[in-house]
């Protein structure tokens, strides 16, 4: 029974984190049909930015938890949006209209470049900004302890999910974006400035990636390569859930998170390929993922 509870709690915590990482990826794909491999680098950028800001803050400036949390959010959003604009305006814009798979390679190239740029800026020494994580303490649930910070990540993830839903369903930009998702050519013909929408979408997607990194920074040690490790798992989540679907990303994250927790608690040996096994088995039965839709060719 204890194990079952532990699995549920751990699965939920991990799923929230996965959703945070995957949300930006799926938003960008949904609107722009670009599977952004550099999403992992945006995650890393957010993590580095947050870690260095926290390092500066706790190194004599102050030690207020809420200021630290606000700094994480601000830094991550700023650096993510900034990097997003540069990437979209500087590189992706030149490539629109190319094959979907070619865009995948373009973002792979950006990933390689960003990895080294970050190394030139931040060096290779691990950055460690554990203070907020430590400051939020822990809660005991029976024999289990859960860290307050990780519960907060669950909250952040719910908030981000709801905000995205609101943005897409209830705002004007959201409506325009949905029309682009539905039919790009028609929306373009009807006067939608698709390019501007792409820039906005990419900025938001990139900022989401950076937020995921920023929120994770106090938990992990930020080292070169953190982004690369994250990207494939995030891919697996969005593909499982159905590319371009926010609900899909949430459900995909839950399934992968729970499956992983089950494996770690019962068969730790399987952990390495559980994500891929889940993705492959979902795709076998639902070739476009859980919430993905097949587009039939029209003749």
């Amino acid at each position: 029974m204890l194990t079952v509870w532990a699995i549920l709690i751990d699965g939920l915590i991990y799923a929230s984190w996965l959703f945070l990482v995957a949300a930006g990826l799926t938003v960008i794909y949904g609107v722009m049909r670009i599977l952004n491999m550099a999403h992992g680098s945006l995650y890393a950028l957010g993590a580095y930015a947050a870690a260095s800001a926290l390092g500066w803050y706790y190194n004599g400036v102050g030690d207020q938890l809420w200021i630290a949390l606000a700094m994480i959010a601000a830094c991550a959003v700023m650096i993510g949006a900034l990097a997003g604009v540069i990437m979209e305006r500087g590189v992706l814009r030149l490539m629109y209209g190319r094959d979907e798979v070619l865009m995948l390679i373009v973002t792979f190239a950006m990933l390689l470049i960003l990895e080294d740029v970050m190394k030139l800026i931040w060096g290779t020494t691990p950055y460690f900004a554990y203070q907020p994580y430590a400051a939020m303490g822990r809660f005991n649930i029976g024999v289990l302890t859960v860290s307050g910070y990780q519960l907060m990540v669950v909250g952040v993830s719910v908030v981000v999910g709801l905000a995205l839903w609101f943005w897409l369903e209830r705002t004007k930009i959201g409506k325009i974006l949905r029309s682009i998702i539905h039919d790009r050519e028609v929306s373009e013909a009807m006067g939608v400035n698709v390019r501007r929408m792409f820039t906005i979408t990419f900025m938001i997607g990139a900022a989401l990636g950076a937020i995921a990194g920023g929120v994770t920074a106090p938990i992990i040690s930020v080292v070169p390569g953190v982004g690369v490790e994250v990207i494939v798992v995030a891919f697996a989540v969005v593909v499982t859930g159905g590319l371009g679907s926010i609900t899909g990303a949430a459900i995909g994250a839950l399934i992968v998170g729970l499956a992983r927790a089950v494996s770690i608690h019962t068969m730790p040996e399987l952990e390495l390929f559980i994500v891929y096994a889940v993705m492959a088995s979902v795709l076998i039965f639902r070739p476009h993922g859980l919430f993905g839709q097949a587009v039939a060719r029209k003749i």
């Binding site: 204890l2 194990t3 532990a6 709690i9 751990d10 699965g11 915590i13 991990y14 984190w17 870690a51 260095s52 926290l54 390092g55 500066w56 706790y58 190194n59 990895e115 080294d116 190394k119 030139l120 931040w122 060096g123 290779t124 020494t125 691990p126 950055y127 460690f128 900004a129 554990y130 994580y133 430590a134 303490g137 822990r138 024999v143 289990l144 302890t145 859960v146 860290s147 910070y149 990780q150 994770t216 938990i219 992990i220 040690s221 930020v222 080292v223 070169p224 390569g225 953190v226 490790e229 992983r260 927790a261 770690i264 608690h265 730790p268 040996e269 952990e271 390495l272």
Partner: protein, 440 residues
């Protein structure tokens, strides 16, 4: 000793990156003019400059190499290495990134030897790279020192080495030593768990450790072993799984950022109040653990390196010089690189060669030799004189505002205690109950 994120630290990182780039470009410039210059000795240095192993291992090792090579060329080392250069030759280095996997490293090794015409190669943190490069070193007849990799299979695969050396211990010694330390210092434990990165290093470490524990502390129950992916970073689920098993000792061979992240998370979650961690590579975090690892956490340094270095002229000089240049005391990978370079200098100085010593002369000089190093006196007593036999040390981490981080209750185990006699398979030796071990 400031926080690594302080502005000074940042500047230092930038500065050291810049200097290493400058150093490297200088090395490259050297190719054209000094490819066959008779007054230099060219050494290829291979270490991680990118990826997760670069921060904790690769870059400190590269920085140590920078410091030591400069001192060797200037003749500033303490005795017995106070002559300038190696065998009177200026030491020139070519630094290569170890990232990219064994196949690529084999390629790079060939490039180093044949295109860059290096006289010797020092490098390799990853065991996979060592295993792939070892046979090639023999094939290409080039004097090669593996400075850090820990696989005990290295000299099983290259069973009759001529050119290949390792100036450190293998991973067996880490884990046999860890078991001895627990037996001596924590005799009351009953439940043991582990967490290892999911790859060869982690798997081998856990195997060696649990087999040793079965010999030394057969009553201890092994309750769990978690195998998170390497560079995973977030160990929340693993920590709960460990908590539900209620161990009182947690063995981990995780290294670098992973190890530090695990320690910090486990500490916040209260796991490290429940259980004491024994970290076989924990020394690399010694100066970074403040507020993260509880006092009493047991650290190893893969031998008498880093914070476990004995006090002698060389280690004193090295600690000072390294800290002066790079802003933090040397961790064990830095010391191990320094030791490999000292081994090279010893071999060159004693090769009896006129001018540039050949690989054969270097190998003959280092084989079975005894040389002074930052870790004390190194005996090349294993693998037919090709691998160092050194003591293994463990100690408890303690931090106080007055003293800073320090190691207490340090226990040292002789090389003869933690390494199997020459030629014997490590696993069989452990399973047989360490025959011939001298642990007094």
């Amino acid at each position: 000793m400031g926080h690594p994120l302080s502005r000074a630290g940042m500047r230092r990182t930038l500065l050291s990156t810049a200097t290493s780039i400058a150093l490297i470009s200088a090395g490259v410039m050297g190719i054209s003019q000094a490819a066959h210059a008779e007054d230099t000795f060219k050494v290829g240095l291979v270490t991680f400059l990118s990826g997760g192993a670069s921060g904790p291992f690769g870059v400190p090792a590269a920085q140590a190499a920078e410091t030591v090579i400069k001192a060797i060329n200037a003749g500033e080392l303490p005795a017995p290495y106070d002559s300038a250069g190696v065998n009177g030759l200026q030491l020139e280095s070519v630094v290569i990134d170890e990232a990219g996997g064994p196949t690529k490293q084999v390629e790079e090794y060939r490039n180093l030897v044949q295109r860059q015409n290096v006289n010797a190669v020092i490098g390799y943190i990853s065991s996979g790279d060592c295993l792939a490069v070892g046979p090639v070193a023999e094939e290409m007849q080039t004097f090669t020192i593996a400075f850090d990799c820990g696989t005990p299979r290295l000299f099983e695969d290259v069973s009759n080495p001529t050119y290949l050396f390792r100036t450190g211990l293998d991973a067996v010694a880490d884990n046999v030593g860890a078991a001895h330390y627990l037996n001596d210092a924590k005799s009351d434990i009953s439940r043991l768990a582990g967490i290892q990165q999911n790859y060869a290093w982690g798997q081998d470490s856990w195997q060696d450790f649990t087999l040793s524990m079965e010999q030394l502390m057969p009553d201890v129950e092994i309750v769990d072993n978690q195998t998170p992916q390497i560079f995973q970073g977030n160990y929340g689920t693993e920590i709960s799984a460990l908590q539900t098993r209620r161990p009182d000792i947690i063995h981990s061979s995780m290294w670098g950022g992973d190890m530090e992240a695990f320690v910090a998370q486990a500490n916040v979650r209260g796991l490290l109040e429940q259980a004491t961690a024994i970290l076989t590579t924990g020394e690399s975090g010694l100066h970074r653990f403040e507020n993260q690892a509880p006092n009493g956490t047991i650290l190893g340094g893969r031998g008498p390196f880093g914070g476990f270095m004995p006090e002698n002229d060389l280690s004193e000089w090295f600690s000072k010089a390294y800290e002066a240049e790079h802003g933090t005391p040397p961790s064990y990978p830095a010391s191990k690189m320094a030791q490999a370079l000292l081994g090279l200098k010893y071999a060159a100085d004693n090769s009896g060669a006129e001018g540039v010593p050949s690989s054969e002369q270097l190998a003959a000089a280092l084989k079975g030799a005894t040389f002074e190093s930052v870790s004390g006196t190194v005996k090349m007593a294993l693998a037919g004189g090709h691998q160092a036999m050194q003591p293994m040390l463990y100690g408890e981490y303690h931090y106080s505002a007055d003293t800073g981080p320090e190691l207490r209750n340090v226990r040292a185990y002789k090389g003869e205690c933690v390494s199997p006699p020459d030629g014997q398979n490590a696993l069989e030796w452990i399973k047989a109950g360490f025959p011939g071990a001298d642990c007094d």
